[in-house]
């Protein structure tokens, strides 16, 4: 009969190994998400002077992936994989832009900053969602429909607003591949790692 202390010790070993495996596995998850991003957006050519900087979006994505909570330890251990509901896009304008790309938009849009927005519409954005970090109006980004009003503002300001290159584009499935990978491989990896750890720990006993 297994003593209670032994059972408790085995539980601790399993728990510790599961957390270690998930943390290790999360690196694969991050890599796959970044790889999906690179495959989809790596080849996008952005005109010089554009308000879109793919490298900045990529950096923001990586930072946010590093902040994501992949594992929860309580009575049970849960692994979380980022998806459109759990990933936090509200950090900065670049991540918001990434959200727009991943959701897809209908219509032709241009990107304007806060100052340009006021120049076009004569007022600040209504019902603007607060971002976690604060930005000056000149650093904010807004997608506005490329309407006749916006075109006339361009003429009046003698400028050309940045065309949103993902206008009328379907959703980009950024997290799909990583989620499938986790569904197919995590369970096996956990089993193998835990078995290995227990064998090592109790070898010869």
């Amino acid at each position: 009969m297994v003593k209670n202390e032994t059972l408790s010790a085995i539980k601790d070993v399993v728990k510790k190994q599961a957390v270690e495996t998930i943390i290790e596995f999360s690196e694969d998850i991050k890599a796959r998400i970044v790889n999906s991003f690179d495959l989809a957006l790596g080849g996008v050519v952005i005109t010089p002077g554009s308000k879109i900087n793919i490298q900045n979006i990529r950096s923001s994505l990586i930072d946010q992936l590093n902040e994501f909570n992949y594992v929860t330890v309580g009575n049970s251990i849960s692994m979380h994989v980022p998806d459109m509901e759990t990933f936090n896009f509200s950090k900065n304008p670049d991540l918001r832009l990434l959200q727009a790309i991943t959701e897809g938009v209908i219509g032709t849009f241009v990107l304007v900053n806060g100052k340009e927005f006021v120049s076009i519409y004569g007022h600040k954005p209504i019902n603007e969602e607060t971002l976690e970090e604060s930005f000056a109006p000149g650093d904010m980004l807004y997608l506005v429909p490329y309407s006749p009003k916006v075109q006339s503002a361009e003429a009046k300001l003698k400028t050309k607003f940045t065309k949103y290159p993902f206008s009328n584009m379907p959703p980009l499935r950024l997290f799909e591949e990583a989620e499938n990978f986790a569904n197919k491989n995590l369970e096996d990896k956990l089993r193998v790692d835990i078995e290995k750890r227990i064998k090592e720990k109790y070898k010869g006993s």
Partner: protein, 321 residues
């Protein structure tokens, strides 16, 4: 001609299920609409009339159209609203399926007499209907014709690029991924498709209604995997399959009831089952389209939602006996 692939049949079956069953209650009625003769499309023995309506959204916008099946009574299973009849399909072969509608569209002639305008119903055997473009094709000139019809309020399309072609509400069915695995000893496979249904509504209430209807329409449900032996219910020109080729001499009052849209299922493949159904609203905070001094007539990004699910079936076609 090569056989339609199973993926295409699954896609069309899902489209048909969502349009004709799940969103069956999202229909509108337009009555006493004038029919205008279109001389450019007429020939010496056929006259084409177009329904002229100011309805917004347009009943004939992409993904909409007039109803081509009658009001649903009760189906054979909880997942099937329609009860199939046995008769002949559009090619004249024995089939089980659904007849063309007989009470969703009524054409009238309005004759002016000394005692006023006399309205008579034109028999359904006297004309064909182009359900996609909203037209009536007859062999004789009609007198001041008008029409009353039911039409699909929700535009259902299968590609992102087509969304802008219609006013909301628009629903896009996007089947984007496939995974096939074995499921038993001795052959056969389980085929799983990933599906997103994107909803673009004109206000929050409409969005919520559509999300709920679609979610409930697929949660713990299944639909037929149709074989499309004679194609889809509507032919390439928008007429009910087989109607155009029916010789005039054989047309009688019952022809609509004996000419069926063949709803045979694909042999040796199961029904299509839905699982892992989820829904969420889609908000894009970066998009600013509602300036107080600028009204967007068609703000498709404003009220969006997405219903996602896996669609699976068991395919035993490769098992030889």
């Amino acid at each position: 001609m090569s056989e339609m692939s199973i993926l295409r049949k699954e896609d069309l079956s899902l489209y048909s299920y969502i349009k004709e069953s799940v969103l069956r209650n999202f229909v509108e009625f337009d009555s006493d609409i004038p029919l205008t003769l279109m001389p450019d499309l007429c020939s010496y023995d056929s006259y084409v009339y177009q329904a002229v309506t100011s309805m917004i959204p347009s009943p004939t916008a992409r993904g909409r159209g007039w109803l081509y099946f009658d009001t649903v009574s009760s189906g054979t299973t909880p997942c099937d609203l329609y009860t199939d009849l046995v008769g002949l399909n559009g090619d004249g072969d024995l089939a089980s399926g659904l007849p063309e509608q007989s009470n969703m569209i009524i054409v009238y002639e309005n004759t002016t007499t000394v005692s006023g305008v006399v309205t008579t119903i034109v028999s359904g055997t006297e004309y064909m209907i182009d359900y996609v473009d909203g037209r009536i094709i007859t062999e004789r000139i009609l007198t001041n014709p008008t029409i009353s019809y039911y039409w699909y309020y929700v535009s259902i399309v299968d590609e992102w690029a087509a969304i802008q072609a219609a006013d909301p509400p628009v629903v896009v069915i996007d089947m984007y991924g496939t995974d096939k695995t074995g499921y038993q000893l001795g052959g056969g496979k389980k085929s799983v498709r990933k599906v997103d249904v994107h909803i673009f509504a004109s206000n929050p209430a409409e969005r919520n209604d559509l999300v709920e209807a679609i979610y409930n329409g697929v949660y713990l449900k299944s639909c037929k995997l149709l074989d499309f032996k004679t194609g889809t219910a509507l032919d390439y020109d928008g007429t009910f399959y087989g109607r155009r080729d029916l010789p005039t001499g054989t047309q009688d009052a019952s022809n609509k009831l004996t000419y069926l849209y063949d709803r045979a299922m694909v042999e040796n493949v199961s029904r299509l089952y839905f699982e892992n159904v989820t829904s969420r609203h889609v908000n894009l905070p970066l998009i600013m389209t509602r300036g107080k001094d600028e009204t967007m007539l068609s703000d498709l990004n404003a009220y969006r939602a997405k219903v996602s699910f896996d669609l699976y079936c068991y395919d035993d076609r490769n098992i030889t006996t």
